[in-house]
């Protein structure tokens, strides 16, 4: 049974995101462990990219900090190897497709399997372009996470049917970043997904409060928080560990019961 599947088994999952290498890879490892210890069910590790077109300013800046500190794909894999000696928390990469393309799909997915990365989220690879990667990823048991957006509408069934791991429902238009209000009818999207698949649904983009975590984990199977975590790392830097632990503990306490 896959680690991702277990994260959602009989429970709701809080999913935390952070950018690898911000402020350093040693700290990324520490922060992941803190979040896992605080009850995060799954961690998304962002591979920094020079031009993250699906991200808002908070994560863009984290990408710049990580790249300026010398973070690379190979160093991230090394960090994951070390992390895997200490935790079994499911790990997925959030990356832009060029990172995988340049590394080589085959090499990248093989390294994921070797290092213990369970899946990849690729915001710039829509359903129509999946075919070039999915067979390779399947060979190495790496789930390519499907994204569903507020604009997906009649596409939902088509893209959801093919999903593995979990489905990432984008709650809002635009790029990543905390929002005070989410206006999309996420419930309707989740219902449509449920018609075609049992793959767990996690909801993200704009979520940053315990109340939002409660609301969206009740609608779906999990809630994703990214920018709020990255903002804390930006603010507290190397000392962010305990703050993240505290924050994630609070968010996890907001999870709806299954």
């Amino acid at each position: 049974m896959s680690r991702i599947y277990k994260a959602f088994e009989h429970k709701k999952a809080f999913i935390g995101f952070l950018t690898a290498g911000d402020p350093s890879l040693d700290k990324t490892e520490e922060f992941v462990l803190e979040m896992a210890d605080a009850g995060a069910g799954l961690i998304e590790i962002g591979i920094p990219f020079s031009d993250p077109i699906a991200d808002g300013p908070v994560i863009q800046e984290a990408n710049i900090r990580a790249l300026s500190a010398g973070c690379t794909t190979d160093k991230i894999f090394d960090m994951v190897v070390s992390l895997r000696e200490k935790t079994d928390v499911p790990l997925v990469f959030l990356a832009y497709l060029n990172t995988l393309y340049k590394y080589g799909y085959e090499d990248f997915c093989r390294r994921c399997q070797e290092c213990g990365v369970d899946g990849v989220i690729l915001p710039d690879m829509p359903f129509e372009e999946r075919e070039e990667l999915v067979p390779v990823a399947e060979k190495y048991d790496v789930d390519v996470i499907t994204m569903v957006a507020p604009t997906s509408k009649e596409r939902i069934k088509m893209v959801a049917e093919d999903a593995s791991g979990f489905i990432y429902v984008v709650s809002s238009m635009g790029v990543t970043g905390a929002r005070s209000e989410i206006t999309t009818d996420v419930g309707e999207i989740v219902e449509t997904i449920r018609d075609v698949t049992d793959v767990p649904v996690a909801i993200g983009f704009g979520i940053n409060t315990k109340e939002q975590v409660n609301k969206y984990s009740a609608i779906g199977d999990g809630a994703i928080v990214g920018s709020a975590i990255v903002k804390m790392i930006a603010e507290y830097g190397e000392a962010a560990g305990p703050k993240l632990h505290e924050y994630v503990t609070e968010m996890v306490s907001g999870l709806a019961s299954s």
Partner: protein, 398 residues
């Protein structure tokens, strides 16, 4: 010939690598374009705008003095610099903004490097009554301050983009982010033959009016096809438009001139074909300037319009199949060409176009007198005068 595959592929290049949020909109755009490009009324309306507003057809001008001075092939310039708004960009924006209107959009957004595409988009938006917002790298708003004001005069709102290298690629990033946030009433009017399908095809079609006219004009003037067709290449829209109708004329050499900046052996370059590798970025698979991990390189050129780390997918394909060749031209060579064509022909050409002129100056003398070169002057150089003066160490006070 040039590949009519409906998935928007040019060999292995092209595709639609954009967030799910944009996919429905991209498909709507594809459908709308397929419908309207064959719609007699749309075609007629665009044709009328091209003739009566943009001033088409543009001249194919025989540069007699340069021909004599360089002492080789006969040199013709396709004068896109004489179009309304001063560059080839108007060809594309009239098409796209008209399409946006037909699609029921009320707002257009666009990226711009040198400001030419931004000015053209703002112009078309003013004419066709659309709201218009332009994203321009902050660095470029400084290099091309006059164009910023020009866009504002035309009623557009200009957003200086302060992320990354603050140049063209960052303006594209910002535009894509904005489009993801607001698709319902907005069309992203992409300025070059790049981005996700259908943009590379659509922009190429709108720009192919350049080669359609040039082919007829040269047959009229010389009774035969040219030996060389050349143009500068950033994303590659004026080059694609200049090449397209000649692609099937195998005997016509197609040459794209890239911005080498300080040189292709330095890191201050934007010559994607020379130093780039395959990648996936800005919605397309193509060649990009990038490092071993796929981080997009901070490219450099004196020309804001060529200062882009990628190239359109159809160009990548034309290179792969050896149908077109791509050559790097340095800042210094381009500036010399800028000065040369001004003194020799009385034409102040854009610094972008001057890259093509520079390469023309290298090859024309080596060609036979009965041979013919058509070089596209993609834009006029008024916008560059201050920057060239600075490059030459002259302090101008406007």
């Amino acid at each position: 010939m040039s590949n009519s595959m409906n998935t928007g592929r040019y060999g292995k290049h092209g595709g639609q690598y954009v967030p799910e949020t944009l996919m429905n909109e991209i498909h709507k755009l594809e459908d709308a374009y397929e419908q309207y490009k064959n719609d007699a009324e749309f075609v007629e309306e665009l044709d009328r705008l091209n003739r009566e507003y943009a001033g088409r057809p543009s001249l194919l001008y025989f540069a007699e003095k340069m021909t004599k001075d360089l002492g080789g092939a006969k040199i013709y310039f396709k004068r896109e610099d004489l179009n309304h708004t001063g560059s080839h960009k108007i060809n594309n924006v009239l098409g796209q903004v008209l399409l946006a209107k037909k699609m029921g959009k009320t707002r257009v957004i666009a990226e711009t490097g040198a400001g030419q595409h931004g000015v053209a988009t703002a112009t078309a938006a003013a004419l066709l009554d659309m709201e218009c917002e332009i994203y321009m790298g902050k660095e470029d708003t400084i290099r091309q301050a006059l164009n910023v004001y020009r866009m504002e005069l035309l009623g557009a709102k200009v957003h200086p983009v302060e992320s990354g290298t603050m140049t063209l690629k960052d303006a594209v990033n910002a535009c894509m982010r904005e489009w993801t946030a607001r698709v319902d009433d907005t069309l992203y009017v992409l300025g070059s033959v790049m981005g996700p399908h259908p943009f590379p095809m659509m922009v190429r079609d709108f720009q192919s009016v350049i080669s359609k006219e040039a082919r007829e004009q040269i047959l009229e003037a010389e009774g035969k096809l040219p030996d060389v067709v050349m143009a500068c290449v950033g994303g590659g829209s004026n080059a694609m438009g200049s090449f397209y109708e000649f692609i099937n004329d195998k005997e016509v050499r197609l040459i794209g001139c890239e911005a080498a900046g300080h040189g292709v052996d330095t890191d201050k370059t934007a010559a994607t074909m020379a130093v780039g590798t395959e990648g996936v970025f800005h919605g397309m698979k193509s060649y990009f300037c990038q490092d071993e991990y796929g981080q997009i390189a901070p490219v450099y050129s004196i020309s804001a319009g060529l200062d882009y780390p990628g190239v359109g997918p159809e160009h990548a394909y034309l290179r792969d199949i050896h149908r077109a060749e791509y050559v790097p031209v340095t800042d210094e060579e381009a500036v010399q060409a800028f000065e040369y064509i001004a003194k020799e022909e009385g034409i102040i050409a854009a610094i972008e176009s001057s890259h093509a002129v520079a390469h023309l100056m290298k090859i024309a003398p080596k060609m036979e007198k009965e041979q013919i070169i058509i070089c596209t002057l993609s834009g006029r150089g008024d916008k560059d005068v201050a920057a060239i003066a600075r490059y030459r160490g002259i302090d101008l006070h406007e």
